[in-house]
């Protein structure tokens, strides 16, 4: 197992290098750039822009810029944000706390809710509750998250609520942690949890349902039942453990969505996460921020895949990486 992990990490290095070339290339390919955008303001002269270009080494050949950027990353320096005149890593770090908190909570809630519901709907295929749950599932899949956000905001407003965005009421944002602040956060938190989590919950629920239905028709389940095993054992030990395998691989892919998937929902709900920050950087062509965030999501994807593989080996004794 250790060899496997080591090998994966070694393979990750050239992969990341390749990704960094791609990321850098894509950013270079886009028309215009932050400095061109600056020229739109009549107060900015061509001279100013040329000076900034020199300052950030943007006047050098593309390969030199790339090496400079890569060298920085190796030393832990992700470059400078044009927009904020601050190091990129500081800016990302500022927003990391809430992003990880929200994403972890959402992923947790998604799994805790979706797996049992998937099992339930598979076992009671034609019951009224299953039909209702399936409907909610389809609704969650079919409705864009920002629309769900707007619907929820509307519902809160007509019921006289005030928790229509952000994670806190204005008076608590700067306040030190207290019981009241925690309660205020809980009052706000459910909306982002539903908005960000609904889509994932529906996907996992539908997937779990399909997998389980598939497994339940297998011969070994019939055999288990024929042996006279208790239905509880048949279900949890034989069926669910086999049905959940594909979902674990799926979970690995969920990690990079920490950054990218919640952009629009975060904007509509004014959440202090990386999403709106990435969006701003993309609009303003703040290239080092964009490249750092793209690299980060590539790293997260690889870490997520590795974790999923390890988890898979642990859950399913048949899988061996040798």
């Amino acid at each position: 197992m250790t060899t496997f992990i080591l090998r994966r990490i070694l393979v990750a290095v050239p992969t990341l290098l390749l990704i960094s070339v791609l990321v850098f290339g894509v950013i270079q390919l886009q028309p215009g750039g932050f400095l061109e955008n600056m020229l739109e303001d009549p107060r900015v002269s061509r001279e100013t822009v040329e000076n900034i270009r020199r300052q950030y080494l943007l006047d050098q050949p593309v390969w030199a810029q790339y090496l400079h950027w890569l060298g920085g990353i190796v030393r832990g320096d992700f470059g400078f944000s044009f927009l904020n005149s601050r190091p990129v890593s500081e800016l990302i770090w500022e927003r990391m706390g809430w992003t990880v908190f929200l994403a972890a909570l959402t992923i947790l809630a998604t799994w805790v809710i979706a797996i049992p519901l998937g099992i339930y709907t598979a076992l009671n295929r034609y019951g009224p509750t299953s039909t209702a749950l399936n409907f909610v599932g389809y609704f969650g899949l079919a409705t864009p998250d920002f629309l769900v956000a707007l619907l929820l905001i509307y519902l809160v407003l007509i019921s006289g609520g005030t928790t229509v965005g952000g994670l806190f009421s204005p008076q608590y944002i700067d306040a030190p942690w207290s019981w009241a602040k925690f309660q205020d956060m809980l009052g706000h938190l459910w909306i982002p949890l539903i908005v960000i989590g609904l889509d994932g919950t529906a996907t996992i629920m539908r997937q779990m349902r399909a997998n389980l239905l598939d497994v339940l028709n297998q011969d070994y389940i019939r055999t288990a039942r024929a042996k006279g095993l208790a239905e509880r054992v048949v279900l949890w030990k034989h069926a669910v453990r086999n049905a959940i395998n594909p979902l674990i691989s799926l979970a690995g892919l969920q990690l990079p969505t920490l950054i990218s998937s919640t952009i629009i929902a975060s904007i509509v709900l004014s959440l202090p996460t990386i999403g709106p920050f990435l969006y701003d950087s993309l609009l303003n062509k703040d290239q080092y921020v964009v490249m750092a965030l793209l690299m980060l999501s590539a790293v997260l994807l690889m870490v997520g895949n590795l974790l999923a593989d390890i988890l898979l080996a642990w859950v399913d004794p048949r899988i061996r990486y040798e």
Binding site: R43, S85, D174, S270
Partner: protein, 578 residues
């Protein structure tokens, strides 16, 4: 003895006056301003997180909003009539529109208690505003301007040539020398270093201004909190200290619908809204919601216009677009009345070039010269241009190709999208096919300044003096994007006069003369003439100027609409919590 006491009393009063020089605000009774009561807090919104806390370090609407509360300029605008009034300068003399001498207000203190003096003014203008590498500076307008200190409370600006609108630049916020010297060239740093002053993770104590509020804290991505400056130099008409509010918070809310929701939920005290959002909020107001929706005619703001690329890549289209008869024909097919009714819900009026209808510079004849919506007239004019209709109803160019062009607009703006669709429909009815191309509104100007467009909907800001908009409206200017062949080939070169159309040359000469004319009546006559030529030639087709609409909770009094980002126009110190 009595006489002596009297003498002491008089000299004390005189001494006190000389020391403290508060400014008493006009009563503004016509704006509904009354005496407020101190205390309370107000929550406003910012559309994006601030990029810096240094006004000149970025071109960023968030810091422009905040800087209005934290800093002051030498002059400011009257809130009712936009006339220039004293701010950090108490009075000034202007000689030949070339030498501007300012007497500064005494006993003004920075938020950290240090006195404000002429050194700060000279530092701000020489080291920051005139610094070509300060991203939010204005070096172009201060090129060759000599700035001198004439004593602790007097400064003089000597211009290389007369510039009658120069006084408007004196509303730029003055920065504290004692805090920013270490980032400046005078402090031994490269010029670009000034942009790194006061980043968003700065200690709030460092960010000191002279304004009504000072920075208390910033929570990244969520909120900026400002608190009252107890030593502010303004008084209300009754002599009470301003500002009234103890605290102003700004929630960072990117999405406009989320902003409205936060306002309806009572988490925001005031928001600026658009005509599109007006009916819903007004209905709630009449149904007894505890807020008011108020509309003002504003001097500032950006009316959209339709421009054609005189240098379009397709030579046939370029020839047509350059022809005033064609643009006038298209202008007949622009249904301004419908746009004002349907898109702005009636909350807009006809627009002129670069100056608001409210402005003293506005030339009322423009509306008549722009004409009315008249499809028959448009058809007749297009027929006369030799553009016959084909079998499909679309007109044919001389080459036989159909007359169609791309109209670029901002697809993330409800207003631009609706206007573009109305134009497309009406142009179709006169046999002109329009293909819509939506791009991000933020990229419109960038696209317009490039070569790759045929027609574009763009909004350019109105200013209190036309001269402030020279780069846009003077042919050959840096932002004269619809006829780029007139622009100089080098940044400092002369415009390419050989590419000027005759009427463009006429406008150019009017602007040249206006820039060195000091007499108001004469300047007004020149700019009137310019507006009439621009309208007559349909230089670009101005669409409409939106009214300023804001909604304010009934908890607050003395609300006056403010765009928020205009230096020198700040009604917030007068607002109070009931």
């Amino acid at each position: 003895m009595k006489k002596l006491l009297w003498l002491i009393a008089v000299s004390l009063a005189a001494g006190g006056l000389a020391l403290a020089q508060p400014k008493t605000m006009p009563a503004y009774a016509n704006l509904g301003v009354t005496a407020g009561k101190p205390g309370g807090s107000l929550t406003l919104s910012l559309a994006s997180a601030p990029q810096t806390f240094f006004y000149y370090g970025a071109i960023d609407s968030a810091i422009q909003n905040l800087a209005n509360q934290m800093f002051d300029g030498l002059i400011e605008y009257n809130l009712a009539n936009y006339q220039i009034e004293p701010a950090l300068a108490t009075r000034w003399t202007i000689t030949n529109s070339r030498v501007y001498t300012f007497d500064l207000r005494r006993d003004v203190r920075w938020h950290d208690g240090r006195p404000f003096t002429a050194d700060d003014v000279v530092f701000t203008y020489t080291q920051i505003v005139a610094n070509p590498e300060a991203r939010g500076g204005d070096a172009a307008n201060f090129d060759g301007v000599k700035i001198e200190k004439l004593g602790d409370f007097r400064v003089r600006f000597t211009l290389p040539k007369p510039a009658p609108a120069f006084i408007h630049y004196m509303r730029l916020p003055i920065m504290p020398k004692h805090k920013l010297l270490p980032f400046s060239q005078e402090g031994g740093k490269p010029r670009a270093e000034i942009n790194t002053a006061w980043p968003t993770n700065v200690n709030p104590e460092e960010v000191v201004g002279t304004g009504p509020f000072r920075l208390r804290s910033y929570t990244p991505g969520q909120q900026v909190t400002l608190v009252k400056n107890p030593n502010y130099w303004k008084r209300d008409a009754a002599g009470n200290a301003l500002p009234y509010l103890d605290q102003v918070q700004y929630l960072i809310i990117t999405d406009s619908q989320a902003r409205v929701a936060q306002f309806l939920a009572g988490n925001l005290g005031q928001i600026n809204i658009t005509g599109a959002e007006f009916p819903d909020l007004k209905r709630r107001e009449t149904q007894g919601a505890s807020f008011r929706v108020v509309q003002f005619r504003a001097l500032f703001g950006s009316p959209p216009n339709l421009s054609f690329n005189y240098n379009a890549k397709n030579p046939e289209l370029a020839a047509l677009f350059k022809n005033s008869d064609f643009r006038r024909a298209m202008q007949f097919a622009v249904n301004r009345e419908r746009i004002i009714e349907d898109v702005y819900n009636g909350l807009a009026e006809r627009a002129s070039y670069g100056v608001a209808p409210l402005s003293e510079w506005y030339y009322p004849e423009v509306a008549r010269l722009q004409g009315r919506f008249d499809l028959n007239a448009a058809n007749a004019a297009l027929d006369k241009l030799g553009l016959p209709r084909g079998a499909d109803g679309i007109r044919r160019l001389p080459s036989g190709r159909p007359l169609e062009f791309t109209l670029t607009y901002g697809s993330n703006s409800a207003v631009f999208t609706a206007i573009a669709t109305i134009l497309q429909n009406d142009f179709q009815r006169v046999g002109v096919k329009v293909n819509l191309q939506g791009i991000l509104a933020a990229n419109l100007l960038g696209t317009g300044r490039g070569a790759d467009w045929e027609a574009i909907l763009l909004a350019l800001g109105d200013q209190p003096d036309p001269e402030l908009r020279t780069p846009i409206w003077k042919p050959g200017g840096a932002l004269y994007y619809w006829h780029q062949a007139t622009q100089p080939t080098t940044p400092t070169g002369q415009p390419q006069f050989n590419n000027f159309l005759p009427w463009e040359r006429e406008i150019y000469d009017l602007w040249e003369r206006a820039a060195s004319t000091t007499n108001f009546t004469q300047r007004k006559a020149l700019y009137d003439r310019w507006q009439s030529i621009a309208a007559r030639e349909a230089q670009v087709i101005m669409i409409a100027k939106e009214y300023a609409v804001g909604a304010v909770s009934n908890r607050y009094g003395n609300y006056i609409y403010s765009l928020g980002v205009i230096p020198g126009f700040n009604p917030l110190p007068l607002m109070f919590q009931r």
